[in-house]
């Protein structure tokens, strides 16, 4: 097909181009600019070339070491919360009522944690989990378990994971519920006639029909947990020690705490590239799965 050539069309693209330039390209170029320089304050900058990047990607240096540590913490955190939230979300969705007034009630209750701002969630749990005045922390200690999330790294991790599960399992559950609701009754009736067990119904009907929403849920939860900042910052501030210092928390520490703009800029660029790369992987997987599904659902 011949495409008409019309140079005046560039004029129509120009506003978008300008907006993107000012909102995205210029700020990123500022970061790129910082990442190749060093500063000692007084707005004095010195050329450092690719020095920061070399340091960052070399785990034997101080910067590279803490970057790698934070990256591992991030990946571990994402893996743990996915391993809990996805199966739990499916389980919750399966046990949600399918009709009647209970549907609306359940949906509202499920949506509540999703509506609370991140820093409020952090504050709620900071208070709730405190051993001295928090109901949760106090109760655990009353049971004879020594629990103090401000001193014990394991307790801090458990608290953050439980907080994230509390905050976000609803999202997975609601997505799965939507997937389950779209399965016509005839499938369940046919399965009963075929003598399928509860487990067989789950693996042969419900899980395949939920595949697409599950992919979306995993993508959303992974990206979100990989970029997590506010909640652990409010709850633990990255501590005790560096036990819960994730990439984003470390980044803020370096940029605003130590005012190492060069290091922070290099780090945020690499962080950004990792996020983009993972996004691309998920996007590819999802679109491939999508085309397969469309093919399958073709009724003719």
């Amino acid at each position: 097909m011949d495409k008409p050539v019309n140079n005046a069309a560039w004029l129509l693209v120009a506003p978008v181009f300008l907006i993107v330039a000012f909102s995205a390209i210029l700020p990123i170029m500022t970061v790129v600019n910082y990442s190749v320089q060093d500063t000692f304050g007084n707005n004095q900058f010195f050329w450092n070339g690719l020095g920061w990047f070399q340091e960052l990607l070399d785990p034997t240096t101080e910067l590279g070491g803490r970057f790698l540590d934070a990256l591992w913490r991030n990946l571990l955190f994402s893996a743990i919360i996915l391993a809990i939230e996805v199966p739990l979300g499916i389980l919750v969705a399966l046990s949600m009522p399918r009709d009647g007034w209970k549907v609306a009630a359940t949906l509202v209750i499920m949506a509540l944690p999703l509506l609370i701002p991140w820093n409020v969630v952090g504050t709620i749990w900071q208070v709730f989990a405190r051993a001295d005045i928090g109901l949760g922390g106090w109760a655990i200690n009353a049971l004879g378990i020594d629990y103090n999330y401000t001193g014990d790294p394991l307790a801090a991790w458990i608290t953050i994971v439980v907080m994230d599960v509390w905050h976000w399992t609803s999202l997975v559950a609601l997505l799965c519920y939507a997937g389950l609701k779209s399965i016509p009754d005839a499938y369940y009736q046919a399965a009963r006639i075929d003598g399928a067990s509860r487990w067989a119904i789950f693996t042969t009907i419900q899980l395949p029909k939920m595949k697409r929403v599950l992919l979306i849920a995993v993508l959303l939860r992974f990206m979100d947990s990989f970029m997590i900042y506010t909640e652990p910052f409010v709850l633990t501030g990255g501590g005790p020690g560096n036990a819960t210092t994730f990439l984003s928390i470390d980044l803020v520490k370096i940029a605003l705490g130590q005012f190492d703009l060069g290091k922070a800029a290099a780090m945020s660029l690499v962080y950004n590239l990792i996020v983009l790369a993972l996004c691309w992987v998920f996007y590819t997987v999802m679109t491939n799965a999508g085309t397969e599904r469309r093919h399958e659902e073709n009724p003719a």
Partner: protein, 367 residues
């Protein structure tokens, strides 16, 4: 293999049914003979799917019993009944191949592996699915998927009856005919009871030996396609079956004469004891009403003549009541007045919608 008996069956979806209006299914007594091909025919919402789901055990009836031969299965769960069902929209297990789909009901019933393989091959060849056995079921066309649904019922050797819930709804028209004839073939070959729910009279009349017509939650007539055509037990059956449907005209009947408006029509049977106070109607199918030149038979007014290809149908008025009649090929009319001849043996009298037999010694059988 069994005959299925419905004994005083009724169902209401609300838990505390008060009057008959609350019943989706009014009381039904019926026996589905072993090996019969039945159609359950009626418009949408007449209760036919409810009845089907009660037979398959997906719905437990409010009242009455279902017997398979002499065994009461009313409260047995679906999987414990020997019933297979094919749904309106094809149900296949997406992640499985056709072979796994067909094996699924047997696998769930813990049949030995070799026996399953043998049975699947056998049914696949009957349904022409052998060539696609190892393909993913989800990638097939709707008619192949419907065959798989049917196949999952057929593989079970204990199946007493197969229920079809409007199975051809999503099938392309040219494949409908093909699938329907392979169903008939299967029925002849396998000696299975088949109950076929549809709102399409052509499907019902071509598939079934016995058609059960339902209307508003009740069975209004059970009979062969010929019986439904020639002797509709209810004006609804007259309307619903046939294209165009039966002419139903308000009438006054005295003895062997009916009056429609000021037109007198001679009847073949006598109606001495018509119930008083009920709505009396005269029914005659367009096929038994023939238009003629003015002056012959009854005087009628022609409003329109439709050519439907194999015949011409006149839309007429008898004393102001609309009706339809056949137009003979050699008839040509000037103006809008014409005559109408009726086959007196094919005229039926209905009281409040229900057929009144009438008295005619020895003529009952050939009607």
């Amino acid at each position: 293999m069994a005959s299925i008996t419905l004994d005083g069956l009724a169902h209401a979806y609300r838990p505390d049914p008060r009057g008959p209006q609350d019943y989706a299914l009014k009381e039904i007594n019926h026996v589905w003979r072993q090996g019969g091909a039945y159609a359950l025919l009626g418009p949408s919402g007449c209760g036919k799917t409810t009845l089907l789901n009660i037979i398959s055990g997906l719905v437990i009836p409010t009242r009455g019993r279902i017997l398979f031969d002499d065994r009461d299965v009313t409260r047995l769960p679906t999987e414990a009944r020997n019933i297979a069902q094919v749904f309106q929209f094809p149900v296949v297990y997406d992640t499985m191949t056709v072979r796994e789909n067909l094996a699924f009901p047997l696998k769930n019933r813990k049949m030995p592996r070799e026996a399953i393989a043998r049975r699947v091959e056998e049914i696949a060849s009957r349904l022409d699915l052998t060539s696609v056995l190892d393909r993913k079921a989800s990638n097939l066309t709707a008619d192949a998927k419907q065959k798989i649904s049917l196949g999952r019922g057929l593989v079970r050797e204990d199946v007493a009856a197969i229920l079809f819930d409007e199975p051809l709804t999503v099938i392309d028209p040219h494949l409908k005919w093909q699938l329907r004839s392979s169903l008939k073939e299967l029925h002849r070959a396998l000696d299975l009871t088949m109950i076929y729910v549809t709102h399409d009279q052509t499907e019902a009349l071509t598939f079934a030996d016995t058609v059960v017509v339902m209307h508003d939650g009740a069975v209004v007539q059970t009979g062969t396609p010929e019986e439904l055509f020639e002797r509709p037990a209810h004006t609804f059956v007259g309307h619903f079956i046939g294209s165009p449907g039966m002419n139903v005209l308000p009438a006054r009947v005295a003895g062997r004469t009916a009056h429609v408006g000021d037109v007198a029509i001679a009847l073949d049977r006598g109606y001495a004891a018509l119930p008083a106070g009920e709505r009396i109607e005269l029914g005659v199918r367009p096929e038994f009403a023939t238009l003629a030149a003015p002056g012959t038979g009854l005087p009628v007014k022609v409003t329109r003549i439709e050519d439907i290809g194999r015949a011409r149908i006149a839309r007429i008025e008898i004393s102001g009541n609309p009706a339809a009649a056949m137009v003979p090929e050699d008839l040509s009319l000037d103006g809008d007045s014409a005559g109408l001849t009726l086959d007196p043996r094919q005229i039926h009298i209905y009281a409040d919608g229900v057929l009144v037999p009438g008295e005619a010694a020895g003529r009952e059988g050939d009607a």
